[in-house]
Symmetry: C2
Subunit: 284 residues, 2 copies
């Protein structure tokens, strides 16, 4: 199999595949020689390809792990070199665009399945790659009516072997729902940091640091995601504004009980989510 | 000393005082008998007073640890019973109102100092009290020109003995700055949870859980804080909206580099804050 882009995610896929019983040879490609050397050193890949074309030749499975904004170029670069029957998937945080691009750019004899393994970190680079990064986390696959069912099953089995729970969504549903639970929270966390006075920031406690943690991601990666999903991001932000206005509207005399109930409801909803996640991670 | 309201904070103060070299007797008062029994059982207090009045009689230091909305009643209840020279402080997350109330309601022979020890948890109740809750965290004191300097020093020394770093701010600066780093982030976290579709929430990952953690606090406590600081909360929310609009404005063709820089700047600012906090906690 081939991993295109050997950073935190690509490197962790390599480590996890090699730790699994799959027993397949992992070929990696990245444009920085230092990254390739590091990936070989930590054992994330067996072989560093000299070019993206060389990386995919003979591969049964190719996983695109570059930033979302590079997928178009990646697909163009590999389209003519992929084996007949090869399966291509990706790890992008947006799915409409890559699914559309794959349908347009890849030849008929290649099978594409969109994937979004929801694991990661605000850290970046193969030096932070971890064998267990995907363990217990969710992977969303985004088949369309053009997706080959056998390829879909293979890709889902691949993520399951890495310890992931797989959920299927349409590319459209994926981008809309993930915007609400991931892209918007990232934008809000970044805005919460950006709006602070220099006098306020040193007063921040653990709560603020937790709330702002997701704002620590790489600007280039998130730029690509935000631009690719900008229609949903605008719509989600507008719904957040409405919800916040609803809350602020309760800061009026006579609404004390409604305000308390509103805050308790949010706390309860969050607590239920935490309990659900704990059950998912510890099913016994 | 007396602790009025023996929940997570009051109970942790009791545990920390008794673990310290202060060697003073801790009298607690809470309106629930079960809480008092639990507080005695975990060793957070030496004695459970039968009434708030009994709790403060003879006390050199009284710490109000009830929700912000109860301070007015607490001060009225204890005003006539406090010893000459007694020091009263509190742990409230807002400071303008309690400082004003103390100036109005307490007799001249009693000295009040506003405090905000910035430690806590989304958990609630004396059963979660911890001896080390305050260790390494910040406490803000809010003296005014009417504050007795010796009482201010005593109160600051008290928090320092519990392991806290003390910062002085005016009540007004406190409420404005803490709104930005604590009250607004709480409101936003609650709104992020409240706005979610039932279909989106199960897709939430670790990033969302972290961002939403502070929304887990008790609705009654936060209702009081929001109502007491509503002017600042509205102003802070409005500034967040502007900052978010600024970010969304960069989702336009030709602004790609500016968007990346904006996101990288927020990530860098957050990272600097994390490093600063780590240095504060591990000064060596």
């Amino acid at each position: 199999m081939s991993i295109i882009g050997v950073g935190l995610l690509g490197g962790s896929i390599g480590l996890a595949v090699k730790a699994s019983a799959m027993g397949c040879r992992v070929v990696g490609y990245g444009h920085r020689a230092t990254t390739m050397a590091k990936a070989l050193e930590v054992g994330a890949i067996d072989e560093a390809a000299a070019s993206i074309g060389e990386a995919v030749q003979g591969a049964d499975l190719v996983v695109l792990c570059t930033p979302v904004g590079l997928f178009e170029q990646n697909l163009k670069d590999i389209a003519a070199l992929l084996e007949r029957g090869a399966i291509v998937t990706d790890v992008g945080s947006t799915k409409r665009s890559v699914v559309r691009l794959a349908q347009t750019l890849l030849p008929q004899h290649v099978r594409f399945v969109g994937s979004h393994p929801m694991a990661g970190s605000e850290k970046r680079g193969v030096e932070f790659a971890r064998t267990d990064l995907f363990q217990g986390a969710r992977c969303i696959t985004t088949p369309t009516d053009q997706t080959d069912p056998a390829a879909l099953e293979s890709v889902e089995k691949f993520w399951q072997t890495l310890g992931m729970r797989v959920t299927r969504l349409s590319p459209e549903d994926h981008d809309r729902l993930i915007c609400d639970v991931s892209h918007l929270p990232h934008a809000v966390a970044a805005a919460l940091v950006a709006m602070q006075d220099d006098a306020a920031l040193p007063l921040a406690g653990k709560g603020f640091l937790d709330a702002a943690r997701i704002a620590g991601g790489d600007g280039g990666l998130w730029r690509d995601i935000f631009l690719d999903n900008r229609d949903h991001l605008r719509a989600s932000a507008s719904r957040l504004r409405q919800t916040l206005d609803e809350l602020l509207g309760l800061l009026e005399p006579g609404r004390e009980e409604a305000l308390r109930t509103w805050l308790d409801d949010a706390a309860t909803r969050r607590e239920r989510l935490v309990q659900q996640k704990l059950r998912e991670l510890n099913p016994d």
